[in-house]
Amino acid sequence: MPFSRDSGHLVRPAVVLLAGLAAFLAIRSAVVPRGFGRYGHYRPAALDLIRNRPLTFAGQAQCVECHDEEAKLRAAGKHARVACEACHGPQAAHAGDFVNVKPQLPDVAKLCARCHEQDAAKPKTFPQVVTAEHSGGVVCNTCHQPHNPHL
């Protein structure tokens, strides 16, 4: 189509569209997050953001640093592979400030039953009892030492 006076008006929407495109590209270059795409299609800052989350569980290596007596007791028994916080709950706060933050002792009856209450779906080799028949309502740590429970 030859460019003539009669097609001159077509330039106008073209200009509007191109101006819009230019504006978009300008904004885009200013606003795209820094480093986006460095490792993949995402913001690398996200990795740092996620990594900086504070700990809630300390991890048993930390517990054992101070509580080596209990650790030794445990290592000799059936609970050798049970981490400290599996029963004692998250203790990162206590590990960070053991003077002011004291852990609460778990409710023994509920705690032991969660693992050791009889259930058909549990592996047959796993020690499990029907607590009503086993102890008649007496709390578990009357007879069993939790860190080394085998009698």
């Binding site: 009669d6 008006h9 077509l10 929407p13 606003v31 997050p33």
Partner: protein
């Protein structure tokens, strides 16, 4: 768990995509369908539907402007939606949305409407007064050249834009079908037929919408309806709806025949949770009923008044049926567990963010916009400057 039958993975119980996500494909479908009807005249020279050409374009625009709204309302962080333009993830069909939408809105629809209405816009810029005059002056984009030669060039360029517009319309709605069809995790959605089914149902609903709007507009203006135009639109609606129905039945039949691991679970879902919306509303009320009415009009001759009523009824039923189809795809796909062992329920709230109230408002809004557009850019033939 309330509302759950059987077993579901714990995070599956709550539906993620709600009524608003049913509305979005419905609205973009209407856009694509209306545009295809407009292109019937412009590109395929079906002269009979010329009276609805401008109407169809305005219908498409009205719905297109509303289309992003249900999505924005649904997003957890709508203020971040611009990220789709900044860092679109090329492997995601959804990332296409921003660009396809913008392309279709600007390069296709707005340019085509501008070219079609330019003569009228210039005239209004010269004859109207007050604030309206300024609006029209801006719309002229500074050019007042409406000589026959210029208008002829407009016609040619408009033709090219429509030709580009047809695959663009297919893309605008087809990608929505692909968004669902490409999710391998969901057997109700995952099928290569999905984009095609979406497209044909979109065309059916779009054509039906223009038919209804044309009849209503003519009635409101107390003008005679061009029956040749209406008959032709109804004929195309019939053909396209037949194809759509065949595709959906093909999907159903093949699924039932192959009976893969998901089949029993999905079959149970259709017979229970989805019975009303899929079988009663979508298939019987929304597809078989309008198809019967349209088939009757093709097979036998009826008086003009009867035909009109037939077409409008069939179109309204079609609009309901296609909405039900979107509902059944989106909601149906989330009612069953991916473990194939359970089902959940979807309760639409009323005044919540994704409830019935905002949904209804979003469905009414395009008609309000359409009314405004019709006032701004009257589609009526008698006002048109005659083209060479």
């Amino acid at each position: 768990m309330t509302g759950v039958d059987g077993f579901m993975y714990p995070n599956e119980v709550e539906l993620q995509w709600s009524l608003l996500i049913v509305i979005y494909p419905y609205v973009t479908g209407l856009v694509a369908g209306a545009f295809i009807l407009a292109s019937l005249e412009r590109v395929f020279k079906v002269e009979a539907v010329r009276p609805t050409y401008r109407l169809a374009l305005l219908t498409a625009l009205a719905f297109l402007l509303v289309a992003p709204l249900p999505l924005q309302l649904h997003l957890g962080h709508p203020e971040r939606s611009f990220e789709m333009y900044l860092t679109p993830h090329r492997s995601s069909a959804m990332a296409m949305f921003g660009f396809v939408y913008l392309w279709y809105l600007t390069v296709v629809l707005l340019v085509e409407i501008w070219l079609e209405y330019r003569a009228d816009i210039v005239r209004f810029a010269q004859t109207r007064t007050g604030a309206a005059r300024w609006i029209y002056r801006v719309l002229t984009l500074g050019s007042q050249n409406v000589s026959p030669a210029a208008l002829k060039i407009d016609d040619k360029v408009g033709y090219i834009v429509t030709v580009i517009g047809i695959p663009s319309a297919f893309l605008l709605h087809g990608y929505v079908g692909f968004i669902f069809g490409s999710v391998k995790a969901n057997p109700w959605w995952s099928t290569p037929l999905m984009p095609i089914v979406f497209l044909f149902s979109a065309m059916s609903s779009g054509i039906a919408a223009v038919l209804v709007l044309y009849v209503v507009s003519m009635k409101l203006r107390k003008t005679t309806i061009d029956m040749r135009c209406l008959d032709t639109i109804a004929k195309y609606l019939f053909y396209i709806f037949v194809i759509d129905f065949s595709l959906e039945m093909l999907d159903l039949v093949q699924r039932t025949y192959e009976a893969d691991e998901s089949f029993r679970s999905l079959d149970f879902m259709v017979h229970t949770r989805l019975w009303t919306s899929q079988v009663l509303v979508q298939i019987f009320l929304g597809t078989l009923a309008p198809l019967s009415l349209l088939a009757a009009s093709q097979l036998w001759t009826f008086a003009e008044k009867v035909r009109r009523k037939l077409y409008v009824t069939a179109s309204l039923l079609t609009l309901v049926g296609i909405f039900a189809m979107r509902w059944n795809v989106v909601i149906g796909g989330q009612l069953f567990s991916k473990s194939f062992l359970g089902y959940t329920t979807y309760k639409v709230q009323f005044a919540a963010r994704e409830g019935l109230l905002p949904a209804s408002a979003l469905l009414i809004l395009p008609f309000v916009l359409f009314f405004v557009l019709v006032k701004l850019l009257p589609p009526w033939q008698e006002l048109k400057v005659s083209k060479t």
